[in-house]
């Protein structure tokens, strides 16, 4: 049963996953190559900047993969009014669990691409002796972040249903306004505090605001 659900989700997402794999594999190499061509590789701060750019890219990729994998199955089922899943001889909760776990398993594909891509990218990079490459650490952070974001997007989609996009946009607008207000006006509201709770440990998005350095001390 699970294998078949996994297979259907794989077929729906394979083009998207292919792009993530390409991105996960090639982009670190490009960032490291291009980055090192612009900086003095002896300078630790320059090398750290390159590592940080790569890290930010991986954070973005994790979020993109999470949202894509979480929303696609629901959107396909919703377009058919969920008649198929509801007429199957399994409880709805079990079907949703199968979908959820299948997406989490598929998330391993871009993670492995990020891991191999990072190893390949940093293997030949001229990194100063006091700095180190962290491809495995980054891949673990990538997976955990993507997994939590995936779970949050999945929850939003399966609870808000058709309104998920609207709710997500509303949340993002509020967050963007608060961040802008906070940055420009020095405004510290309880809502900004709440957002900080979400993005600092043990909040669900704390891995995103953690250290995303491909190259670090």
């Amino acid at each position: 049963m699970f294998r078949q659900v996994l297979f259907t989700q794989w077929k729906w997402a394979r083009t998207e996953l292919f792009l993530y794999v390409i991105a996960g594999f090639l982009v670190p190499t490009i960032i490291i190559r291009v980055g090192f061509s612009f900086v003095d590789s002896y300078s630790t701060s320059s090398v750290l900047s390159v590592g940080q750019y790569a890290g930010v890219f991986f954070g973005g990729l994790a979020m993109l993969a999470a949202v894509g994998l979480a929303w696609r199955p629901y959107i396909i089922d919703a377009a058919l009014k969920h008649v198929g899943p509801l007429s199957l001889p399994v409880p709805w909760a079990m079907f949703v669990r199968l979908r959820f776990v299948a997406g989490a398993v598929l998330m391993l594909i871009p993670t492995i691409a990020v891991w191999i891509g990072s190893i390949a990218a940093t293997a030949a990079a001229p990194i100063p002796p006091t700095l180190h490459a962290y491809p495995t650490g980054l891949a673990i952070r990538f997976y955990l972040s993507a997994l939590t974001a995936y779970a949050a997007a999945f929850l939003l989609q399966y609870v808000a249903g058709r309104n998920a996009t609207r709710v997500a946009v509303a949340i993002l607008l509020v967050v963007a306004l608060m961040e802008t207000g906070s940055a420009l006006l020095g405004f510290h509201s309880p809502m900004v505090g709440a957002w900080n709770v979400l993005t600092t440990w043990p909040g669900p998005f704390s891995t995103f605001s953690g250290i995303w350095m491909l190259i670090d001390v």
């Binding site: 078949q4 297979f7 259907t8 077929k11 396909i76 001889p89």
Partner: protein, 304 residues
């Protein structure tokens, strides 16, 4: 004979406009039950309530001996369902779709599925999003039949199909029913099609089941009578007068339900004269039944 579906006092409300009210319905085991009704009468909603897809407002449903919703998943393992809007995942092939459904049904029969696929001339490697409407309908029928269901719930299964495909689908259905003795609940507004295959019929209108009876009763019980010099008072008729209307001179046409030949005496006892008793086909009977359900007898006659 036990009953495959027993519905009592079912109520459900969808928005402000539409509601299923006091629905009571019994589908005998082994019967082919035609579920008739105009568009928007509540047929699909009722079927989805039966299968536990919608929450029941009030009342009870028993499906193959299991209460809905508590035991619906056990019942669904023994039910083949063809929804009104076909639910097929676009990127899968025919074979992958069969494998997907097979994984959920413990009684899935691979040989039977393969036989049906060949019978319906479906190519295993054909992508579902490239199937024609007829092929999609056939695939859904295949999926509904391949796990040897005790009950088939078909919601407008032949709607939009060309006559050749429709014949294939119905032939497969009838072959399955005759070989397995399965129960079929088939919803359709194609009345003449139901006439050929159903042995029981239920008619929905405005969220209510306005009639439920064996097909023979339904077909033989509704007649059109040509009556000369009809009586003004029709309150004492031995049959149910569904409608009456003036045709020419002092002649009227009456549509009646529960007609028996012995009832001719009703007219000969008075000044009236029964000129002709005309058999109605199922579609005409269905239309007259709906008309009578929507308007009390006599009003139609006055308007005519």
């Amino acid at each position: 004979m036990s009953d495959a579906i027993i519905v009592r006092n079912l109520a459900y409300r969808a928005g402000r406009e539409f509601a299923i009210r006091d629905l009571a319905m019994t589908v005998p085991s082994g019967s082919v039950y035609g579920f008739l009704g105009p568009n928007g009468s509540g047929k699909t909603t009722t079927l989805r309530l039966l299968l536990g897809m919608l929450p029941i407002g009030d009342g009870s449903i028993n499906l193959l001996g299991h209460d809905v919703p508590s035991g619906v998943h056990k019942a669904l393992a023994k039910i083949g369902y063809v929804p009104e809007r076909l639910h097929l995942y676009p990127t899968l092939t025919v074979e992958e779709t069969m494998r997907y459904y097979a994984s959920f049904y413990p009684d899935w029969d691979d040989d039977r599925a393969e036989t049906l696929r060949r019978q319906f001339a479906l190519r295993a490697e054909q992508s579902v999003d490239l199937l024609s409407k007829g092929e999609s309908g056939k695939l859904m029928m295949l999926l509904a039949l391949a796990h040897n269901p005790e009950l088939l719930v078909l919601d407008e299964p032949t709607d939009g199909l060309d006559p050749v495909v429709r014949r294939d689908v119905l032939a497969a259905l009838l072959e399955y029913v005759s070989s397995r003795g399965a129960t079929v609940l088939i919803s359709s507004h194609l009345v003449h099609e139901q006439e050929r295959i159903c042995d029981h019929v239920g008619v929905m209108d405005g969220g209510r089941l306005i009639a439920e009876m064996p097909m023979t009763t339904f077909r033989g019980g509704i007649k059109r009578l040509r009556v000369a010099k009809p009586p003004i008072d029709n309150s004492t008729t031995p049959f149910t007068l569904l409608s009456r209307g003036v045709t020419a001179g002092r002649e009227e046409e009456w549509v009646v339900r529960g007609w028996q030949p012995a009832m001719r005496e009703y007219f000969s006892a008075g000044e009236s004269e029964l000129r002709e008793v005309i058999d109605l086909d199922l579609e005409e009977s269905f239309v007259e039944l709906l008309r009578s359900a929507r308007q009390p007898a006599g009003i139609g006659a006055e308007e005519n």
